[in-house]
């Protein structure tokens, strides 16, 4: 019996040792930065981006037979971040992912999953040359770029003109600029417009949901001057930040103008809600079915649309550390973000390449598609999620406090957000 016990104990010890020592070979970074050859890339799984990705890969492969790029859509998962995180741990990420969320970058970086683009000569100049001052928001705290800022979907308020007309509202210039106007309009469309909700942002508790309800209004309220946190301090407990919660969203839920229930589908497309907070992708999605209008996100006193900032809903391109032929990956990255390919991106997806002066650079496109111009103009005034350690945890902490106070009214938004601010400040100070 003792002998068997010893055998079991030995087995357990070996298992724990094996568990502790799992490790594989790393890619030699210096060698890889120069290496050229075939590479794999992933792009987003929406049909328009797949079309763009395929044509970019085809065009590259035609000129580079020795450095063939294989493109495929990102494997299915609840979120792309989850899929990429798992692939990093498994060591099977592709060289480039054209769908890297800036909020996940600090985590991927900590996992050792991302390549600092500064490894390539002239990279910071290229990134800053293409995106201008906005690029600064995508730098990691160590001063390196672990992501190439790529394209934005600046969010605005989309509204259903027919519903507004039915409610007796001016459908060309509806009163949506201030919180009071917005709340009044919301009540009117519910009373007379035949919809269940004025606006129906997802009330669920996933960490990213605040990007599409609280955050755009917070950015607008602070004139685009601050992100959620700045220099290690939470910014959302400012008077403006609390007002977004207390004077806008909390009454929206209390008065039943926004729903506490998750809609099983797309409430705006099904005409269950009169408004939605969306980016330019919405034009292609709702364009045919719904007669829509667009307005900037509201602010307390109603600033002019030309001055209103919003959330960028940006996606970056990440180069991942499992990549062996990084020389080719960097060249392809530059090719995919060239002026010509950015033009194709705009044409095929309606999403805004992160370049200044979009309307003049792609004047022909906006002449042909004037409905996109308002988004291009808005793209000039966007704020990103802050690049800080434990970013996703921070957003989850914020969402939990917001959900309990603003959506479900369990505590006062002021108290809940102040408590969350303390936890968040401690989270982002951790390395």
């Amino acid at each position: 019996m003792k002998a068997r016990l010893r055998l079991v104990a030995l087995g357990t010890a070996l298992l724990a040792l094996a568990a502790a020592c799992g490790g594989d070979e790393a890619v030699d970074t210096e060698e890889a930065a120069q290496a050229t050859g075939p590479i794999d890339i992933w792009y987003s799984d929406n049909p328009e981006e797949i079309t763009w990705g395929k044509q970019a890969v085809e065009a590259w492969n035609a000129d580079h037979p020795d450095e063939e790029v294989t493109g495929e859509k990102i494997p299915a998962g609840e979120t792309s971040e989850e899929v990429i995180g798992a692939a990093i741990a498994a060591g099977n990420t592709p060289c480039l992912v054209f769908n890297t969320a800036p909020a996940a970058v600090p985590q991927f970086e900590k996992q050792g999953g991302l390549v600092a683009l500064d490894d390539f000569p002239g990279a910071p100049e290229y990134i800053e040359g293409r995106s201008g001052d906005v690029a600064e928001q995508y730098k990691s705290p160590d001063g390196n770029y672990y992501q190439m800022p790529w394209k934005a979907n600046p969010v605005m308020i989309f509204y259903n003109k027919k519903v507004f007309e039915k409610a007796g509202l001016d459908s060309e210039n509806p009163p949506l600029a201030t919180y009071d106007e917005f709340l009044e309009t919301a009540q009117t469309v519910i009373d007379k417009g035949g919809v269940e909700a004025a606006i129906w942002p997802a009330p669920s508790s996933e960490f990213f949901q605040s990007w599409f309800d609280y955050y755009p209004l917070f950015i607008a309220a602070t004139d685009g001057q601050t992100a959620l946190v700045e220099d290690g301090k939470a910014q959302f407990t400012s008077a403006e930040g609390i007002a977004v919660a207390e004077d806008f969203w909390a009454p929206m839920y209390e008065q039943g103008l926004a729903k506490r229930e998750t809609y099983n589908g797309d409430a705006f497309a099904d005409e269950k809600s009169a408004m939605a907070i969306v980016g330019p992708w919405a034009i292609a999605v709702y364009g045919e079915a719904i007669e829509w209008g667009v307005a900037p996100v509201p602010t307390a006193d109603g600033i002019s649309p030309e001055q209103t900032y919003t959330f960028s809903d940006e996606k970056s391109i990440g180069m991942y550390s499992a990549c062996e032929n990084r020389g080719t990956a960097w060249e392809f990255l530059k090719f995919a973000t060239s002026k010509a390919n950015d033009g194709k991106l705009l044409e095929l997806t309606g999403q805004m390449p992160l370049r200044p002066d979009l309307t003049s650079t792609y004047a022909d496109y906006f002449k042909k598609n004037p409905e996109y111009e308002v988004f291009a103009d808005q793209a000039e005034r966007t704020v990103e999620v802050p690049v800080v350690p434990n970013s996703i945890e921070m957003w989850q902490e914020f969402r939990d406090a917001y959900s309990s106070s603003v959506i479900f009214g369990k505590e006062s938004p002021d108290e809940a957000l102040t408590t969350a601010a303390k936890s968040i400040e401690s989270l982002i100070s951790e390395e």
Partner: protein, 303 residues
């Protein structure tokens, strides 16, 4: 002398390998399976729970220091975890008795010569083999604010609606899991019922017992070992509920009223990169479930 030396060697070999070493190659494949699929991950989970662990790229130089029981103290001090544990207790209190009662009654009914017996047996099994995502889709539609249930209930419908009502979200999930798993437990009871001798029912009848008395005096004690199994399995499945709060109540909502420890593990370990913390939740949950299962076994199997 040589013989005397051989005897202890043989006895040591028997001690180590057993009387029939030939059995070893037969069990080896399953032992290997257990090691790879259960023992190694369990060992890794234990290791992770004592470290500031996160999943890193192979070969990446990262620090994951030993932090003792920090993860455990943090988990136990986390109010969300305490809510999640409370939810498991509530869930099990609703789910397990309901599962046992319904499964046994249905199995007894389906064991009789009733019309369309095969159809009914198959029908109760269908939810069990249907993908959870599809089932959740149907329940979302049933229990939405403007769903079928509320339409039938009219003014009696709860406000706010079921899935965003803090009092109702978890019971609805417990009901869904009970309904979904029921077919499997009915099957277990049906198998157990085949072993209850008919003579016992006849004897009970002779003694003047009616259908209800027979059920409690013959059927219930006759399937006691199956009941132990059903209770333990339902507890384990129940304690690990994840898909339902993840999909049905938008990530454990409203306001964490339906959050489960496994959902927390997913959030912490996969979404937020705190794998060590998530592992500590997993270890605590596994120990808790094991303790409840042992208690169930003790209570149900004692004479």
């Amino acid at each position: 002398m040589a013989k005397a030396a051989a005897a202890p060697t043989t006895s040591r070999r028997i001690k180590l390998l057993g009387k029939h070493p030939i059995g070893i190659p037969f069990v080896a494949p399953y032992v290997a399976f257990l090691i790879v699929v259960f023992a190694y991950p369990l060992g890794l989970a234990l290791y992770m729970s004592f470290h500031d662990y996160f999943f890193a790229a192979p070969g990446a130089i990262v620090e994951r220091p030993f932090i003792g029981v920090d993860n455990y103290t943090q988990v136990l001090g986390d109010p969300v975890f305490r809510t999640a544990l409370g939810n498991v207790v509530k869930f099990v209190i609703i789910n397990v008795p309901l599962t046992v009662a319904l499964a046994l009654v249905l199995a007894t009914a389906l064991n009789r010569a009733i019309p369309f017996r095969t159809f009914f047996r198959a029908s109760y099994y269908v939810p069990y083999v249907t993908a959870s995502v599809a089932v959740v889709g149907i329940w979302l539609w049933l229990f939405a604010g403007d769903g079928l249930v509320n339409t039938i209930l009219g003014p009696l419908a709860p406000d706010p609606p079921w899935l965003v009502n803090e009092a109702w979200a978890l019971p609805i999930i417990a009901l869904l899991v009970t309904w979904k798993q029921l077919g499997f437990y009915v099957l277990l009871y049906l198998a157990a019922l085949q072993n209850v001798p008919n003579e016992l029912y006849e004897a009970a009848k002779v003694d003047g017992a009616g259908a209800v008395r027979s059920f409690f005096a013959v059927t219930v004690p006759g399937v006691r070992s199956a009941t132990t199994l059903v209770v333990i399995l339902a507890t384990i499945v129940g304690a690990n509920f994840f898909t339902e709060p993840y999909l049905l109540t938008g990530g454990g909502g409203p306001n964490n009223a339906s959050i489960s420890p496994v959902l927390m593990m997913y959030r912490e370990g996969i979404e937020q990169g705190n794998a060590g913390y998530a592992a500590a939740i997993g270890v605590i949950l596994a120990i808790g479930v094991m303790a409840i299962s042992l208690l169930n076994r003790y209570l149900l199997e004692r004479d």
